[in-house]
């Protein structure tokens, strides 16, 4: 039982890492009033760019950095479309997801052709020193990126609630007219929020290809971006509650993997569906009192 629990907790943190990074990113975008449906594509692009650069240079951290830069660019593109040009956020976000998915696949074909087995690299290793701690070693011995993701939760909270930039983000997402009238640069604030958002999302994608899998596959993101959007609602747009959401989803995902191996006579698809069912149930309960950022989905235009 102990072994089972420790294994479960360790896996939960691992599975939750890309979700934490993705939701923190989406959180910045949505608190600034932009629903960034480009998250799925941005994560995919981050996984691809990180994999290629990490593999080519042999420096995995360079891969992460490249993914973040790609994510920032994707965020700025979202800004160009939804902030500058006032395109519907649904349309521009889905467009970015399609564009980045397509571009990444195209790049993949150019570089790797159509390999039978996905190309792989030597991934990040788990922090070796902490792995040797007795009993808890498996839990503590996570990837550095997992620790970074966890540390980013209070950092993001601090940025949103204890910096002037965060105050501006919150104001812009609730009432851009008011923020503008108060002298806040609505457009710049939204661009910056989207850039941060894109960088975090892409880092989440890079975690999958550079740490968890050490490989790049077509289905590497597998809807995690959409899950992040649901987790934001579950977390009521608050960094810490969003973390609980990511851990809950990660926990159920890790649990279903273990349940599959227990030999229960059920179709494995039912186990696969479990995290999503739990998400829907949790959303149905928590989402009822959701207080959306009031300006979400609304393009701001000066008259």
């Amino acid at each position: 039982m102990e072994v089972f629990l420790i294994g479960l907790i360790a896996a939960t943190l691992r599975v939750a890492t890309p979700l934490i990074l993705g939701t923190l990113g989406e959180l910045f975008a949505e608190r600034a009033g932009i629903l960034n449906l480009g998250i799925e594509g941005t994560m995919f692009c981050g996984a691809f760019v990180g994999f290629v650069v990490g593999g080519a240079t042999g420096n995995l951290w360079l891969g992460v950095l490249a993914a973040i830069v790609a994510g920032i660019l994707a965020g700025l593109l979202m800004g160009l479309l939804s902030v500058r040009l006032g395109v519907s956020q649904h349309v521009s976000g889905l467009g970015i997801t399609l564009l980045l998915t397509g571009l990444s696949l195209f790049g993949f074909r150019l570089i790797f052709g159509e390999p039978r087995i996905p190309p792989s690299i030597a991934p990040f290793e788990r922090l070796p020193i902490l792995s040797q701690v007795p009993i808890l070693g498996e839990i503590l011995g996570q990837y550095a990126l997992t620790y970074i993701a966890l540390a980013l939760v209070p950092v993001c909270w601090w940025m949103l609630y204890r910096t002037n930039f965060g105050l501006q983000i919150r104001a812009v997402g609730e009432n851009p007219e008011a923020a503008d009238a108060a002298g806040v640069n609505v457009f710049l604030t939204r661009y910056l929020a989207l850039a941060i958002a894109g960088g975090l999302m892409a880092a989440g994608g890079a975690f999958l290809s550079l740490a968890q899998l050490g490989a790049f596959t077509y289905g590497i993101i597998a809807g995690r971006g959409w899950v992040c959007i649901a987790l934001i609602i579950f977390g009521n747009w608050q960094p810490v509650r969003v973390l609980w959401g990511a851990l809950l989803f990660g926990g159920v995902s890790a649990l279903q993997l273990r349940l599959q191996t227990t030999g229960l006579d059920l179709p494995y698809e039912m186990f696969l569906a479990l995290p999503y069912l739990v998400t829907i149930a949790a959303l149905a309960v928590a989402g009822r009192n959701a207080t959306y950022p009031a300006a979400l989905l609304k393009a701001y235009k000066r008259e």
């Binding site: 609630y161 930039f165 105050l167 009238a181 002298g183």
Partner: protein, 503 residues
């Protein structure tokens, strides 16, 4: 010292000339009214001064220097602040956060320090507010004080107030006027945008009147009168409604018998209300807001089911019927929230047929040509300044109300239910609406006029009923009613026993 001069300001919105070569000057330490009807160009002019709009032509001088004001940020730097009609506050943030927003330096934001600074600023200007309070929980008057504080915190020396009293209850208006006078005492200047003559006369030093985008003139308060201002505003010599002679009163068209209903919280809002509105009369229902008027209007529209009593229209029992039945029975409605009764994204012509779609349907399809013709006809008849194809949301308040009137009256109603039909309208539109209601009365329609404006109720009604805490305190002929008597009834201090004066 801050003196502002605007010279030859011109601003177009498409084909509409909103400001036409406007000259305007503001001196230090004065409260200067900008008076005009809705759509006269007051707000446009001030939004130009505040950097929200950009003038097509003209120049602005601040303290004698040519000023370029591309955005509110520059306006604030120059010492010009604005409190808009719709507050520009962020509801989930605290008062302090709202005040310092956009006026903070450095990286860190310290909520405690911000609250302290804001409390100090509030104390300096004598403005009562709680810096830690969340704006969402504040009353309208409190929000307005936060807006003023926000401007003062930015060292503004000229404050533009856009129709500041339109959202306030009378007590809050008094507080606002005290605040403005205190600011004037401290050497600040205020531009007070309004279309209410009595307020302008009460608080302002000078008055500039705009009409249709042009300056009619600037006058000193001491040298003018409400009547002169009204004439300048509307450009007509006649002012006010004139009641035509008594029309013979016919049978009871609308009868309420011991009607009771609950409000949204499930508390009794109407308690055994009995009323009778006869053909050819206007029955005014006076009362302080929130004493059951809204629920009565909803019950009579069919959107709220009464818990007891009966509603009879032409002796037909409509108790608990749905809204369509009320429309078919000939109840025309002029609802309190005029924007909620219209669909902003639909055209004017489409909105005009919303209540009688069946008449414009052929073989299950909407007959678009007839809808358009119907729209054109009503637009001409009711002098609505719009095209049939214009989106409803692009219309000004006065024109929206004309569409509401046109829709309600074109179906030849037998009973008209008018809730606050002139609230928020300018003088011209108010007069128009009142004339239309009187015209309907003269044609033998029974009109129930729910109005919180006692002057309006007195001017239009044949009889006046007073509602207090969901009960009718009495019905008296308007000719015999005095304001004092009605005031006592409205505050529940006096109830006319049934049958005493009801004839």
């Amino acid at each position: 010292m801050l003196a502002i001069q605007m010279r030859g300001i011109t601003k177009r919105f498409g084909p509409v000339l909103a400001n036409d070569r406007i000259d305007f000057s503001l001196e230090q330490g004065e409260i200067h009214a900008l008076l005009g009807e809705n759509g006269a160009g007051k707000t446009t002019l001030m939004r130009i001064l505040y950097g929200l709009y950009h003038a097509d032509q003209g120049e602005i001088l601040v303290d004698g220097h040519l000023a370029h004001i591309p955005s509110p940020k520059e306006a604030i730097t120059l010492g010009i602040g604005m409190v808009a009609q719709h507050f520009t506050l962020v509801p989930p943030l605290s008062v302090a956060e709202n005040v310092v927003l956009g006026y903070t330096k450095g990286l860190r934001f310290d909520p405690g320090a911000a609250q302290q600074h804001v409390a100090e600023a509030a104390a300096r200007f004598g403005i009562k507010t709680d810096p830690a309070a969340i704006v969402r929980h504040l009353s309208v008057g409190e929000c307005q004080r936060v807006e003023i504080l926000k401007a003062l915190y930015r060292n503004v020396r000229a404050l533009i107030m856009d129709e500041p009293t339109s959202v306030l209850v009378p007590q809050e208006v008094d507080v606002l006027f005290e605040t403005l006078e205190r600011l004037r005492g401290a050497g600040l200047s205020v531009i007070f945008i309004s279309h209410k003559l009595n307020e302008v006369m009460a608080v302002c030093d000078r008055i500039t009147v705009l009409r249709q985008g042009r300056v009619v003139g600037t006058v000193d308060k001491a040298a003018t009168s409400q009547i002169e201002l009204a004439c300048m505003m509307v450009g007509r010599e006649t002012f006010g409604v004139t009641r035509r002679g008594e029309s013979p009163q016919g049978e009871a068209r609308l009868r309420l018998e011991s009607l009771s209903a609950l409000d949204r919280k499930g508390l009794p809002a109407l308690k055994e209300v009995s009323l009778e509105v006869r053909a050819g009369e206007i029955l005014g229902l006076a009362g302080v807001s929130g004493n059951g008027q809204a629920e009565l209007a909803r019950v009579l529209a069919g959107t709220l089911k009464p818990t007891g009593g009966r509603i009879l229209v032409d002796n037909r029992d409509l108790t608990g019927a749905d809204p369509t039945c009320f429309l078919v029975a000939g109840v025309g409605r002029i609802p309190e929230e005029r924007h909620e009764s219209m669909i902003g994204e639909l055209s004017v012509a489409e909105n005009l047929v919303l209540e009688c779609l069946d008449e414009f349907t052929r073989n299950g399809l909407l007959d678009r040509r007839r809808v358009r013709q119907h729209g054109e006809q009503l637009i001409a008849e009711y002098q609505i300044k719009a095209q049939p194809t214009d989106r409803m949301r692009t219309l000004s308040g006065g024109n929206v109300q004309k569409v509401v009137l046109a829709r309600a009256l074109s179906s030849k109603p037998r009973v008209i239910l008018a809730s606050q039909p002139t609230r928020g309208l300018d003088v011209g539109a108010t007069e128009y609406v009142r004339d239309k209601l009187l015209e309907q009365r003269d044609q033998g329609v029974a009109v129930l006029l729910i109005s919180e404006d006692l002057d309006e109720a007195l001017a239009l009604s044949d009889r006046i009923a007073v509602i207090y805490e969901g009960r009718i305190m009495g019905v008296i002929p308007a000719g015999e009613a005095s304001k004092e008597q009605l005031g006592m009834m409205m505050s529940g201090a006096w109830e006319v026993t049934r049958g005493e004066t009801e004839n």
